[in-house]
Amino acid sequence: MADIALGPEPSPKLHLTASQQSYLHLVRRKRLYSTILLALLAALLATGFDLAEQRNAGGFLNGVPMLLAFPSEVLSEAWTNRANVPGLMAHFLPSLIETLNIAAVATLLGGLFASLLALLTTRGLAPFPALTGTFRRIMDALRAIPDVVIALVLIFVLGGGPIPAVIAIALHTAGALGKLFSEVAENADLSPVEGLASTGARWGQRMWLGVIPQVAPNWASYGLMRFEINVRASAILGFVGQGGIGHDLKLAMQWGQGRYDEVVAIFLILFLSIVTIDRFSDRVRTRLTKGAQHG
């Protein structure tokens, strides 16, 4: 690309040449670094892709033409049985509600746990300042462990049903929201807390009356965002483990041909509910944060 941004020919003024020279030098070096970095990235990407392709069952180039084969097979079968689809969508509604309930309960429980963890790890609010590091590591670990693993392990102990999924997602949510919550609480105004402290309020009272009202809108907004994520996680957990719409989807997929109308019905209600929830939460979140700006 031409260096048009560098402007006209170097001017004859002597006192400018030195700085211009050094500027050009700087730009050239920066470009060189970016080029090297980009080339490195491209090389890494290419070798990585090659490696992934070798370890994959089917090759990339063989797969590309097949990409539309499965969707078109599913859709054409569903199209011939299109009369069934609305009925099937109604039939799978209870499973969808179960999936949504799992996400909602997990978000609520995880959010409560996260609020506690956040207050325990926020500078200036923590009741045991010496332990903030420990609580932070606990949150990090909760975030790091994949929820599927917790769910599968809990299925071994608790048996099937939605409870393992709720616990798994709630634990992950506690870690993820705890970090965001504590970032919000760090920016809270401490004067109400001091005022409450002067009246002899205990830690719980100071937090409940002094901090929570300030951070509630932002916390609720993060909670809603997490709910969107958790709906997806809950569907995936159903697919890998048990319960909810994910499990129905897996059963219908395993059956294969002949039940593709069910697959389409499940795809549709899952898609619709995710889009609706995203829209709804988007709107509520803008209201929450705008309301907070008004005071």
């Binding site: 892709f49 969707p71 102990v157 049903g161 889009v275």
Partner: protein, 432 residues
């Protein structure tokens, strides 16, 4: 004087707040109650198998050695977790003729003899089992404590020192040891059973065990190809998981960058094109990673590339949205400056826009990469690649809990390290 109307407004507002402050927790409680009923919490609590939890937790950090006698053939074997491939002769099991004596430590001794078996528990007494003519009879101090269970078919003694089971066909004693068995070297390695200082001196100055190989290389090889723990394969799987996240995130960012220019209102004058692009992003994000993964797995078969493509697709939607938001919030002055030199659209984008958004975009990509290493574990479980596959396999056998614990520790470590690294880079990017 204070306005009376103002007072009443404030009072109604306060009243509403009070009601809200009470009503909101009540609604949440009511909802949780409904959920508890619909999820059948009580049923789950009654069906929960707590002994499974105990097995799981003890397997996480300890292993057991089975000393088994086949009552029909009379053969005694000691093995790790009852797996015949890992049988050995521990020094606390002594066999002399027909009689086997097992020292469980702490004064507890189990004896197998032709008449039956006997267990001496310190502080309690002797549980004597005699088998004759197909009938099993037990003599033990009465009343029987609850850690001894006796039925027609089976006598089980569970103590903190070890477990003891007697059935007609076989008698088994389990002794627990802390730690993970054969984690470094299996029995077939010449290095098995060596202490840390022995290994150190072997590595540094002692003569070679295998003539063609230095001792250090031998150690590395025997550890890497450990037949019980498969360290080599596990490290490969972790690498595969990171690879999926890397390919998916980076290629999604590369594709999303030009697309986000099309979706940004200050870059794309044609409203219809912008709108179509945005709806495409919404569609990709709405369909959800699960469904994309299923569709892709059908076309490309199981493996890491399918996982990478699934991450690529979902992230293209996510990046497209966030990138275009970043582009809409740029400082137009720099673009104006570049425009004044007569630059065309591409040049304006390259020299006016990219330099100012690059740090923000990079930091978003890094953050996504970090969170994608986590989702790659889950996606790996669906598409069959990486550490996610190993984990689900180990969980499904319902006995390799020590493997599960090992993988979990590795995943947490991987996420911690990536977290720390990306935090470091992001801080440097923001500082410039």
């Amino acid at each position: 004087m204070v306005d009376a109307a103002l007072i009443s407004t404030i009072e109604t507002a306060m009243q509403r707040r009070k009601i809200m402050a009470l009503a909101l927790p009540m609604i949440i409680l009511a909802y949780l109650f409904y959920a508890a009923v619909s999820f059948d919490v009580l049923g789950v609590a009654s069906r929960a198998r707590m002994e499974n939890a105990r097995i799981l937790l003890s397997d996480f950090w300890s292993y057991k050695v089975h000393v088994t006698r086949d009552n029909r053939r009379g053969r005694v074997t000691s093995s790790l977790d009852g797996d015949n491939r890992y049988s050995f002769g521990p020094d606390w099991v002594v066999t002399q003729g027909d009689i086997t004596t097992i020292d469980l430590g702490g004064g507890a001794i189990v004896t197998y003899d032709p008449a039956g078996a006997r267990m001496i528990m310190p502080g309690y007494g002797t549980v004597d089992i005699v088998s004759s003519g197909g009938k099993v009879s037990v003599t033990a101090p009465q009343p029987l404590p609850d850690w001894i269970s006796v039925s027609d078919k089976r006598i089980a003694v569970t103590t903190p020192l070890g477990r003891f089971n007697y059935t007609k066909s076989k008698v088994e004693t389990f002794r627990y040891f802390a730690g993970w068995e054969l984690f470094f070297f299996t029995f077939d390695s010449p290095l098995h059973g060596k202490s840390l200082s022995q290994l150190g001196s072997l590595a540094l100055w002692e003569p070679r065990i295998e003539p063609g190989q230095s001792n250090l290389a031998l150690m590395a090889e025997d550890f890497w190809s450990n037949r019980l723990w498969h360290h080599g394969e596990v490290v490969w799987a972790l690498f595969e998981t990171m690879l999926m996240a890397f390919i998916g995130t980076v290629s999604a960012a590369i594709l999303a960058l030009p697309l986000s220019f099309i979706a940004a209102s200050n870059m794309m004058p044609l409203r219809a094109v912008r709108f179509a692009m945005r709806r495409l992003f919404d569609f990709i994000r709405g369909v959800d990673a699960l469904i994309w993964t299923i569709i892709l797995a059908r076309a490309f078969g199981p493996g890491p590339m399918t996982g990478a493509l699934a991450i690529f697709l979902t992230d293209t939607g996510a990046f497209g949205k966030t990138f275009s938001e970043v582009l809409e919030n740029i400082d137009e002055k720099q673009v104006e400056g570049v425009r004044s030199t007569g630059a065309n659209g591409l040049q304006r984008a390259r020299f006016g826009v990219i330099p100012q958004v690059m740090p923000v975009l990079m930091s978003q990509v890094l953050y996504a990469f970090e969170s994608n290493t986590r989702s790659a574990t889950v996606i790996g479980a669906i598409v069959g690649g990486g550490i996610g596959l190993l984990l689900t396999q180990a969980i499904q056998t319902q006995k390799d809990w020590e493997d599960v614990c090992y993988y979990l520790i590795l995943i947490v470590l991987m996420v911690f390290i990536l977290d720390w690294l990306s935090g470091l880079i992001r801080r440097r990017l923001i500082k410039g």
